[in-house]
């Protein structure tokens, strides 16, 4: 349903790239036992799901898919007509100014930051290098949970920057949900339950991918 609805929208005029990751993640979750922890069925059954590898691989796959999309976007920049020259920042500046000019003539105007920063060359260079580092360096996020969290924070920060400078809202990414698979959210939930029930003993993380 989600794919057909968004595919219809993307069939007219232009492709919106902010929905791609949402659709891919939804497809993965649809094929995973994603409702075994909290759902009406689980509530009826009464017994919580036991730890299993079946709950680990979808999380890993969500992370791998996220990383792959950013990596593909990074390759597109250096494989494009500018090559590694993209890192110089001039192209990024031109793209942002072009988007700003269109908004001035068609929409609600360019963001105030575009007006203030359009002449700060070193900043565009820094933003271009940072974007390439986040995108081309995305695969390292799979090396360890700590690096994964660091990368997820950087990627989220990149979207915050895009929102601030261009006014483009990547809702799924900005909400943080797109990067949730890099965080130990289940551990936070276990800690919360331990505090609520007064059980202060330490929680143990079940290694992902092992039964």
């Amino acid at each position: 349903m989600l794919l057909s609805t968004l595919a219809y929208r993307n069939s007219w005029g232009m492709i919106f790239h902010n929905d791609n990751l949402l659709v891919l993640h939804a497809a993965i979750l649809a094929g995973a036992p994603a409702a075994d922890a909290r759902s009406l069925d689980t509530r009826r059954r009464g017994a919580p799901a036991e730890a299993s590898w079946r709950y680990g691989w979808p999380v890993r796959l969500l992370s791998a898919t996220t990383v792959a999309t950013y990596f593909v976007a990074g390759i597109a920049k250096v494989a494009g007509p500018l090559g590694w020259g993209w890192a110089g920042g001039a192209s990024l500046r031109s793209q942002v100014l072009a988007d700003g000019l269109r908004k001035e003539l068609l929409g609600d105007g360019a963001s105030p930051l575009t007006h203030r920063l359009h002449d700060v060359d070193w900043l565009w260079r820094l933003l271009a290098v940072g974007s390439l580092a986040v995108e081309l360096g995305a695969p390292v996020a799979l090396l360890s949970p700590r690096i994964g969290r660091l990368w997820a924070t950087s990627a989220w920060g990149m979207h915050v920057g895009i929102k601030a400078i261009m006014g483009i809202t990547f809702r799924y990414q900005l909400s943080g949900i797109a990067f949730a698979s890099f965080l130990d959210l289940e551990r936070a939930g276990m800690r919360h339950r331990a505090v609520v029930t007064g059980n202060a003993c330490s929680t143990t993380r079940v290694p992902v991918g092992h039964s």
Partner: protein, 161 residues
């Protein structure tokens, strides 16, 4: 779960995972084509990669006041679906004179109902070429301009000269 079933299930999960990642990476092959084509939801994410010049041509709707001043009319007067979608539709419409005239009439009727555009006496569909840096330094004069269609706003009291 029986051990054999577990192994089979793990293999199936592994194969599905590899298939998903390969599918996401597959659009990289577009870079080998002379004219890469974007897709959804599998994309090679070509945004921000094009080489841009110093100038930009934009097709937009212009509201002209009786004193000759002008204001850019918001895309929402022309259609729904977001700015970029309407922008592309405007560009296509500009290539067909009859459709351009029809759009101008529709936008003129909508603008006439909005107090914010009380000063507007004429609506034009225009393609203007502007210097990118110049615009943000306050130079809003187009380098080149093509007026595709124009419609006077037919409201008593407004005088299109």
């Amino acid at each position: 779960m029986m051990p054999g079933t577990t192994i089979a299930a793990r293999r199936a999960a592994g194969c599905a995972g590899v298939a998903v990642v390969v599918a996401v990476l597959a659009p990289l092959g577009e870079h080998l084509r002379p004219a890469p084509r974007d897709g959804f939801p599998l994309s090679h994410f070509p945004m921000f990669t094009a080489r841009r010049g110093e100038n930009l041509a934009v097709t937009y709707l212009r509201g002209v006041a009786a004193d000759g001043g002008w204001v850019a009319l918001p895309y929402r007067l022309a259609g729904r679906g977001g700015m970029n979608q309407v922008r592309k539709q405007l560009r296509r419409t500009a290539r067909r004179p009859a459709r351009a005239e029809r759009l101008c009439r529709t936008v003129a009727e909508r603008a006439a109902r909005r107090p914010a555009f009380d000063a507007v006496v004429r609506v034009e569909l225009v393609t203007g070429t502007f210097p990118l840096s110049g615009w943000f330094h306050g130079d809003h004069e187009p380098i080149a301009e093509v007026v595709h269609a124009t419609t006077d706003i037919d409201v008593p009291g407004r005088n299109a000269s």
